[in-house]
């Protein structure tokens, strides 16, 4: 951005103001994460202690874990109430299946909506757009009824199997990407005698890999974070996902064991933070695409 027609001193003040504003924003957005980590390393006694009246000493008690207490993590992992490893495995299995299902089915459908010619594909596209707007609450009761008929309540099936039926948001996202691929590529393959399935698998899937990665990441994170789904469909504690287990842990022990609760929270969010740092560019590109070209 050009800042023309301003005096150097005004420019300097402006820069300083922006720096200060950015600093404040960074503190607001980081403080809760810091506080989570901070509490998770304290002893319960320190976290719940009456703060000293001297502000400096009170701040030190508040901010600096003393002694550094890593045992909270051990306790959470081996706690009979919060079976971390079990919940992590449950969550991971569901999230991986959701990612696979979304990528596979949305890719097939997006291909049919953009590169194949058949009657009804425009109607289907409008159904994709319309169903994105439907609130989950409208479906909640009847879906519960249907899944109960199948005997799926209490299992993880309702949480991942439907994603093999092309979630509309991911179909839409992939369709936008398919539209940027020139038709000449498929036409050449047709002349060479390739069938539609081979064209999809050998040409389209490799070409759309960046967008498929976005779908995989988004659906994985959405499944990891999903709360209302597990809340409705999972009935036994041993099938719980991390998000549901965390809420359960809070209502049970939140009032007394803040350090354990925060250690558990760190463990729940850590995988997401790691994935985010590994694939930050993909996330940002994916979100930007949905907003700009939508």
């Amino acid at each position: 951005m050009k800042l023309s027609g301003e005096k150097p001193s005004a420019l300097l003040t402006r820069r300083l103001m922006i720096q200060i504003a950015l600093g404040v924003v960074a503190v607001i957005y980081l403080a809760p994460l810091f506080w989570m980590l901070d509490t998770s390393l304290k002893t319960e006694r320190q976290a719940m202690t009456q703060l000293p009246s001297n502000p400096a000493r009170a701040l030190a008690t508040l901010m600096i874990p003393h002694p550094l207490h890593a045992a909270n993590y051990q306790k959470v992992i081996s706690s009979p109430f919060f079976r971390m490893q079990l919940y992590a495995r449950n969550t991971l299995i569901i999230a991986l299946l959701v990612a696979i299902g979304s990528m596979l089915s949305a890719s097939l459908v997006a291909y049919a909506l953009t590169k194949l010619r058949w009657y009804g594909r425009n109607v289907l596209f409008w159904i994709v757009m319309g169903s994105m707007m439907l609130p989950f609450s409208v479906m909640m009761v009847p879906l519960y009824r249907i899944y109960r008929e199948f005997g799926w309540i209490g299992t993880n099936l309702p949480l991942w199997l439907p994603t093999f039926l092309a979630p509309p948001f991911y179909v839409f996202l992939l369709r936008q990407f398919y539209l940027t691929i020139p038709n000449e590529l498929t036409e050449a393959a047709v002349i060479d005698g390739a069938g539609p399935f081979r064209i999809w698998w050998y040409i389209m899937v490799p070409l759309t890999r960046p967008a498929l990665l976005v779908v995989g990441l988004f659906s994985f994170v959405a499944s990891w974070n999903n709360f209302i789904g597990p809340l409705v469909y999972l009935t036994h504690q041993r099938t719980y996902t991390l998000a549901l287990a965390l809420q359960f842990f809070q209502t049970r022990h939140g009032g007394v064991a803040h350090t354990l609760l925060m250690a558990a929270t760190v463990l729940v969010v850590l995988p997401i933070i790691i994935i985010f740092f590994l694939a930050q560019k993909t996330f940002i590109r994916g979100i930007a695409t949905t907003g700009i070209k939508g």
Binding site: K2, G5, I18, Q19, A21, L22, V25, A26, I28, A31, P32, L33, W35, T39, L59, L62, S105, L108, V109, A112, L116, R117, W118, Y119, G120, R121, L124, I127, S131, M133, L134, P135, S137, V138, M140, P142, I146, R148, P162, L165, A166, V171, P196, V221, N225, F227, I228, V232, Q247, G254, L261, V269, I272, I273, I287, A288, T289, G291, I292, G294
Partner: protein, 320 residues
């Protein structure tokens, strides 16, 4: 597959074959549930016994259901305040994060990251942040509260304030946030601003698409600062603002995770939201028919608001 000309039977079958996941999905996950939900909304239905037709009773009874009305008003209030607030705040952040700066990407990461975390985790962390006795927020707020209170108490006699007022000013305390019925809603609204990272990213992508020439010609015309924002940036960004507005409206009517984990609707019913009461009626009180009726009312409200947004778009959204 013939690229041009008529669609053959073979083309039709291949197309439908590839679209099959979605076609089955539409049938099983869309048409059947919608029809069932619509039917149940006119029934007394507990899911344990077969549904019994009761006509419009579920809908009529919503009108005299105080908890429902409260959840409707709460959600209205939340939507009206939080949607424009979140839109303005994320636009402000995007403008700030768009200024060239060596650490720009670091700041962008910091703002974006919280929006990816599970809302349950966000709720658990903030509950502990806002803890009135042991939390850091009220610890830090007690100092400015004390200073402001003391100052106000000193000048209050000049305005003939009652002794009780002066006394309470002298002991001015930070709010109890989630534990105070008057503050709980405000707290939830403010907390929803912590997760606006994705909206900010969309705004930043929109800002990126604005051609530099527009700013240059605006500069030639002598437009700077706020006038450039008003006459160039905002009109060029209006399609993106519109997109975020629609997403924001739809999302605000479905808010569930954050209040469910933080307050369970309390204190009293101060933070009872529409989706929470719907869930409670359906899955805790087993009034599935009533829950379906609520869901249809919710869907219609969302549709009307979206339609209004699209109507208004003609007046203020500039498509290139």
């Amino acid at each position: 597959m013939s690229a041009y000309g008529r669609v053959t039977w073979r083309d039709q079958l291949i197309g439908m074959f590839f679209a099959m996941p979605f076609i089955i999905g539409v049938a099983v996950l869309l048409v059947v549930p919608l029809a069932l939900s619509f039917y149940y909304s006119f029934c007394h239905y507990t899911m344990l016994t077969p549904p019994i037709w009761v006509g419009l009773k579920n809908y009529v009874r919503l009108l005299s259901d105080h908890a429902f009305m409260r959840s409707l008003l709460n959600t209205c209030f939340f939507s009206v305040i939080s949607v424009p607030l979140a839109l303005g705040w994320s636009l402000l952040l995007a403008l700030l994060l768009n200024v060239p700066n060596r650490l720009r990407n670091v700041y962008r990461t910091i703002v974006f990251l919280p929006s990816l975390l599970p809302l349950v985790a966000t709720a658990v962390i903030w509950r502990w942040m806002l803890s009135p006795v042991h939390g850091p927020i009220n610890f830090l707020l007690q100092f400015p509260c004390h200073w402001v209170g003391t100052m106000l108490a000193a000048v209050a006699p000049l305005f003939h304030a009652a002794p009780s007022t002066i006394h309470s000013l002298r002991h001015l305390k930070p709010p109890l946030w989630l534990e105070d019925g008057k503050w709980a809603m405000t707290t939830i609204i403010l907390l929803s601003l912590w997760g606006v990272g994705q909206t900010v990213i969309i705004f930043l992508a929109g800002l990126d698409e604005i051609p530099e020439e527009l700013y240059e010609s605006a500069a030639l015309d002598g437009a700077t600062g706020l006038r450039r924002l008003w006459h160039v940036t905002l009109p060029m960004l209006s399609p993106v603002i519109f997109f975020n507005l629609v997403i924001g409206i739809i999302g605000s009517w479905q808010i569930f995770d954050l209040p469910y984990v933080m307050t369970q609707g309390g204190p009293g019913r101060a933070t009872l939201f529409y989706s929470m009461y719907l869930f409670e009626a359906g899955f805790q009180q087993l009034r599935m028919g009533a829950a379906c009726a609520m869901a249809w009312v919710q869907l219609i409200i969302i549709l009307i608001l979206t339609a209004i947004a699209f109507r208004s778009a003609k007046k203020w959204v500039h498509y290139r």
